[in-house]
């Protein structure tokens, strides 16, 4: 079992009062809560802090944690002899603790109190009321092509589950899901019944997926709309043109009107991502007027001739 220094995670002394622990947690939760924080790795840090707080804010769990002694974070350690028995009234001294996560161990203590687990039952009660399984959230990374067409995913998850020895342990699970057309970046999806197993006959929890689209070399995604930067020449912008543009379903012809401007958006209706219960999004082509990197002599001569012939002054308003 790997040691975690819960006091260090919360930045408090081992002698800290309940109130100090609560204050430290609140302060760090404010900083790292995934709903309010933009800090790097905020979610991981918040989970670690929440785990530390759940243990240290509970008198019985804190006492059990303190009895484990001091170790280096990440160090393999064994609880002192009799530790399991001391904090158990259910004969938990024969439980194999090797390979168990420290957070899961204390989670087992919670379940023991609620009557779900064997052993580690501080209150000594063994009611067997049904409890629903835990809900989980996971990120599903999709390519734009997969989101456009719909796809099947195998999600490799590690879920804490109550094992037959009455302990909460990480169990690898692969869940197969079919993501239909209509998913886009930031979309939340519910996979009913694929969260943690229920306890004592309770229903399983749900799995919530957060869709994350990987960056596409050509298209940018906003909701169900797609954006494509479309380079055009200065003369196409002035004179108008018909150009071919790529879409997710192949190339289509697009009419550039005479007098088009840089940054102008041209919409191709229905060529974005499908919506689950409605019209598909659109594809917007954002015009970018580009100049030749190295104009030839003839081109330079024509630009010079244009400069001499034109009276256009784009800076008139700055005069």
């Amino acid at each position: 079992m790997k040691y975690k220094d819960y006091y260090a995670l919360l930045g408090v002394e081992r002698t800290a009062s309940e109130d100090d622990i609560k204050k430290a947690y609140r302060k760090l939760a404010r900083k790292y809560h995934p709903d309010v924080s933009k800090e790097k790795d905020a979610e991981e840090k918040f989970k670690a802090m929440a785990e530390a707080y759940q243990t240290l804010s509970d008198k019985e769990k804190r006492a059990a944690y303190d009895q484990l002694g001091r170790h280096q974070p990440g160090e393999d350690f064994r609880p002192p002899p009799g530790w399991e028995t001391q904090f158990s009234r259910g004969g938990a001294d024969d439980i194999d603790l090797s390979g168990i996560d420290l957070g899961d161990l204390f989670e087992s203590l919670s379940h023991g109190r609620r009557g779900g687990a064997r052993g580690f039952s501080g209150a000594g009660h063994h009611e067997t009321f049904a409890m629903p399984g835990q809900d989980f959230e996971a990120t599903a990374n999709l390519s734009l092509e997969d989101a456009y067409r719909g796809t099947e995913l195998n999600l490799d998850l590690s879920m804490p589950e109550m094992t037959p020895d009455g302990m909460v342990r990480r169990v690898p699970r692969t869940v197969r899901v079919r993501v239909p057309k209509g998913a886009t970046d930031g979309q939340r999806l519910r996979v009913r019944g694929k969260g943690g197993a229920g306890f004592n006959g309770g229903p399983p929890g749900d799995l919530y997926l957060n869709i994350k689209l990987t960056a596409h070399p050509r298209f940018r995604v906003s909701g169900h709309d797609l954006y494509l930067e479309l380079p055009i020449t200065p003369w196409e912008a002035v004179l108008g043109a018909s150009v071919e543009v790529p879409t997710m379903e192949g190339r289509v012809a697009l009419n550039i009107r005479p007098g088009s401007k840089a940054g102008q958006k041209l919409r191709i209706t229905g060529k974005g991502l499908a919506r689950p219960h409605g019209h598909a999004g659109d594809l917007y082509c954002v015009l970018n007027i580009v100049l030749p990197a190295a104009p030839g002599d003839r081109e330079k001569a024509l630009y010079k001739e244009l400069a001499e012939a034109s009276s256009f002054n784009p800076r008139e308003h700055l005069a």
Partner: protein
């Protein structure tokens, strides 16, 4: 353990309606807590009576966040309601920012 069955997904967006019972199960709120949040305007159901309430599936995600925030920061209903409003505003601003970023020329 591999689950060989392919599980269908439910979109949590405004196009899907969720019944009250499902909302309570998904959010973890009690009925009283949910009614409080509705009265504070943090969550807006449709339906003429509490029993007939339905919610946008997107709202269930907001409710889950509300349940987490309320526990993690020991917020009362007014505080939860206020925070949710601000989070919604941030979500909308981020959505708008992504849309504008898409239009920027590289």
């Amino acid at each position: 353990m591999t689950d060989t069955n392919i599980t269908p997904l439910q979109f949590l967006d405004d196009s899907t309606r969720i019944a009250l019972e499902d909302m309570l199960a998904m959010s973890g709120f009690s009925l009283r807590e949910l009614i409080d949040l509705v009265e504070h305007g943090a969550i807006e159901p449709e339906g003429s009576s509490t029993e007939a309430w339905t919610f946008s599936a997107r709202t269930t995600f907001i409710a889950r966040r509300a349940a987490g925030l309320r526990t993690e920061f020991s917020l009362d209903t007014s505080g939860t309601s206020l925070v949710l409003g601000l989070l919604e505003r941030i979500d909308e601003l981020e959505r708008r920012m992504r849309e504008l970023e898409c239009q920027l020329l590289r």
